[in-house]
């Protein structure tokens, strides 16, 4: 209930004119460029993992030649958007929650209110925009890196024919799947940002340092769980005829 009220206020602030530019640029850079090293590392391993595990599973019923299909479907439709979102929650969301919670417990948010500045406009709106716009880009980036890693692992380590692999990927992954991935990215990005901002914003002065820890923890866990659950519903919506 409290959360819905927060969402309403945040939406009003978000769509009430463009966000403060400097704040937006700072958070967009931090969310986008700042996540690249971690995301790259993780998608490379997740992509290779996908190949190795799928191979290990398929080889048992002699389907190792279908690796391309599996990596295309599993990776691009499901794994990479969710992974980008979960990592986004663990890194960007946690940072957002921690910084807002810190501002709350040191009364900086109240100071803004007293100075007749709407903290929603100044603090929350640019963060929401930044993450919502950056996460789809990160998803797209993860698609490319992850697929390349799967390809490398499949051809170099499993000895799957590279041409067949790519042909299968091209067969099974349509433009619609990529668009769905980007759409998921937008939804997850907004969700991660709003959940993290909410938990950060809810910290109270009397909680002290503990409040920052609690906000960070909740931001990470709730945004990860929400994204994974929502992904199931989105997939059911998009792919069950």
């Amino acid at each position: 209930m409290e959360f819905l009220h927060f969402v309403r206020r945040a939406l009003v602030a978000q769509f009430n004119g463009p966000p403060p530019r400097d704040e937006f640029v700072r958070h967009a850079l931090d969310a986008g460029v700042g996540s690249l090293p971690l995301l790259t590392l993780l998608t490379i391993f997740a992509g290779m993992n996908l190949s190795v595990q799928a191979y290990g599973t398929f080889v048992r019923f002699g389907g190792q030649d279908l690796l391309g299909l599996f990596c295309g479907v599993g990776g691009i439709r499901e794994l990479y958007p969710v992974m980008a979102a979960v990592i986004c929650g663990a890194r960007i969301g946690a940072t957002l929650a921690a910084s807002l919670a810190n501002m709350q417990i040191s009364e900086q948010v109240e100071a803004l209110e007293v100075m007749a500045v709407d903290p929603m406009r100044l603090l929350v709106a640019p963060r929401l925009w930044a993450v919502t716009l950056m996460l789809p880009l990160l998803c797209g980036y993860a698609d490319v890196v992850g697929l390349a890693a799967s390809y490398w692992a499949a051809t170099e380590q499993m000895g799957v024919n590279g041409g067949t692999f790519m042909e299968q990927v091209r067969d099974i992954v349509h433009l619609g799947d990529l668009a769905a991935g980007v759409f998921k990215g937008v939804v997850f990005g907004w969700l991660v940002a709003i959940v993290s901002c909410y938990h950060g914003y809810r910290a109270l002065k009397r909680d002290g340092a503990e409040g920052v820890g609690v906000a960070t923890n909740r931001a990470i866990v709730h945004s990860a769980v929400l994204c994974i659950v929502l992904n199931m519903f989105l997939s059911a919506l998009l792919y069950v005829r």
Partner: protein, 260 residues
Amino acid sequence: MAEQQPAITLEKVCKSFGPNRVLHEVSLTLPAGKIMVMLGPSGTGKSVLLRCLVGLMKPDSGRIFIEGQDITGLDERRSAGREQMFALRRKFGMLFQDGALFDDMCVGDNVAFPLRQHAKLSEREIAARVAEDLERVGLKNAQRKMPAELSGGMRKRVAFARAIALRPKIVLCDEPSSGLDPVMSATLDELILDLHRTLGMTFVVISHDTAEARKIADYVGLLYKGELQAFGLKDEVLRSNQRAINQFFERSTEGPIQVL
């Protein structure tokens, strides 16, 4: 100027958190241009009172007038009410307990922040005002420092400069002397007096430091268990011989105020 509105009027303000009665029927009138020191043991609702004045909290009942305008009826959930509340808050400057400086801005930007948000001034005028205010608080050379590099006293002085940057009519100070050494808190007292003389602002100071009250106050109030035990001109209150006042000013454990 003869019929000037009182800066702050409270009428039977009550506030509770659950079963906890924090303010009970607090009524007072503070004329414009005066310094009021609100005394009281810790945890008796002084900060809540301050937050009610700027609309950060809403009293459960009773009314609060700022320069004659009733602020208790403003509904912050509606945009019109919020606009009015924000317009009203521009009359206020507030010094928070630990300064509440923005960690990611340097000292100069912190002081310039309210000016950039609300005053229609050019960057050059803003820079001039920032320099002027920082000099006033004796921190002319700290403009490029970050809040994390400052000592507690310096943070408070920067917060002071930020609170007065817009030349508000009313300045609220939440425990300006807590956590400071005696010399630094005396410096802050001098600063309040100096600002009061030169800019004629109304001050509401929350404190438990009786020496501070003796030094700067025009009006003194004593809040205990959510009730206003005494309020009035400093000399009258001190002469009135009320037991709570005497106990507080004599630092005695004997009397109506029981903390154990």
